[in-house]
Homo-oligomer: 244 residues x 2
């Protein structure tokens, strides 16, 4: 299971944290690190803090943005301290471990995404993730160090033993399939004048949450895209008027 779990750091700012993250991952038996831009991972600080996990630092993959870093992953989990205004499934670390234990495989990769030390993940980055997760902390001081957050999730993942078989695993659509669906939805809804001109992103976030929660498989994404294509066709004569 563990080779199919990606730890993704988005724009880490401290080389020491990258090194500590590698060490924490290796302590708990994880090995796949992906980094979106961020500081130099071969800084002397990161090497120092990686200690015996330098191999993870060397084998890490670098990406230009989060979408490409998780494109081949199915179970995408963004970590956050914000318990948004919107209803959203916020998982605890043991729940993430349970989800990954049940479903992660070579065909269904998991990605656990961590944001910047100072500002976490942006709303847009969080909206790329199917699930959100948070670590329960003291109300007085909820700001965890980045590598400490990674450790806690890796610790819970380490507790989770190998899959015990049972029901047929879901074959969820991958992140890039979902993004193609959302781009199509955005385009269609724009054409028919459904997206609020003041705040189109707001409505799209609501719709993303709905379709993420639906746990679509590839076939269903195809069905929905077929539906959108038919809507495009049926409304091709539409001139963009508002309903009165």
């Amino acid at each position: 299971m563990n080779n199919n779990i990606m730890i993704v750091l988005v724009e880490p700012q401290s080389p020491g944290n990258i090194g500590m993250t590698c060490r924490a991952m290796k302590n708990m038996g994880l090995s796949q690190l992906r980094i979106v831009k961020g500081c130099d991972r071969f800084d002397s600080e990161s090497l120092k803090f990686a200690v015996a996990a330098r191999d993870l630092l060397e084998s890490a993959h670098i990406y230009p943005d989060l979408a490409s870093a998780i494109a081949d992953c199915t179970l995408t989990v963004g970590t956050t301290r914000r318990h948004g205004k919107y209803r959203q499934e916020i998982l605890s670390p043991p729940e993430v471990a349970g989800l990954f234990r049940e479903q992660v495989s070579a065909e269904c990769r998991g990605a656990l995404v961590f944001g910047r030390e100072d500002n976490g993940l942006t709303t847009e980055e969080l909206s790329l993730c199917r699930w959100h997760a948070t670590i329960p902390t003291s109300h007085e001081y909820g700001s965890l160090n980045l590598s400490q957050s990674v450790l806690l999730f890796c610790y819970e993942l380490g507790k989770a033993t190998e899959p015990v078989g049972g029901g047929r695993p879901l074959e969820l659509a991958k992140s890039d399939e979902m993004e193609t669906l959302f781009a199509h939805l955005d385009s269609t809804l724009n054409k028919i004048g459904f997206l609020n001109e003041q705040n189109p992103a707001h409505m799209m976030r609501s719709l993303r949450r709905i379709f993420f929660r639906a746990n679509l498989d590839s076939r269903e994404v195809t069905v929905l895209r077929g539906m959108l294509t038919q809507i495009d066709w049926a409304s091709s004569a539409f001139d963009g008027r508002k309903r009165s």
Copy 2:
């Protein structure tokens, strides 16, 4: 409970680790730090890593040896990576949390003792502790950073005290709301020619599964019905032709 749990560091060697330990403790709602000798706790590194937990650094008590640091404690737990030659109760972090939850009080203080970064606790120091505890790690690389070890135990202690909170309970849309949505969807898709004439029910069953799985609430049903109304409007000029 938490004010009666002491975190004890024996001869910490890195000021940064003392600072990170303070931060990890405060993140998880613990406040009582005791230090047996060790490096300068007011080094610039420790202040830097303590961030907003500087108050714990300042209120820490310093002792000349472990015996005096835990003299007033009843439930003493020494952490170790060595699964000793001698029969000993080795607890996991959740077991320590359970023990403390059941028994810690103002009259029965708990102490969780961590050794030096390089050599841990000596056999003599371990023998001062009633229980021993260890963190399960990968066999390949079992050496955890000191502050990471403290964090994991504090995290389990935090779980034991605060309810692991999640989101608000789901308020799912009622059955009649869902059926109104499906009737609208059926009507719209019929009008734009998306439903297969041979077997319209088949496609509707697929779509019902998708929207049921999404666990919609009432607000979201309203959003989706608004979308359907706009599709109806945008395609009102449509004459039912098939796409060629």
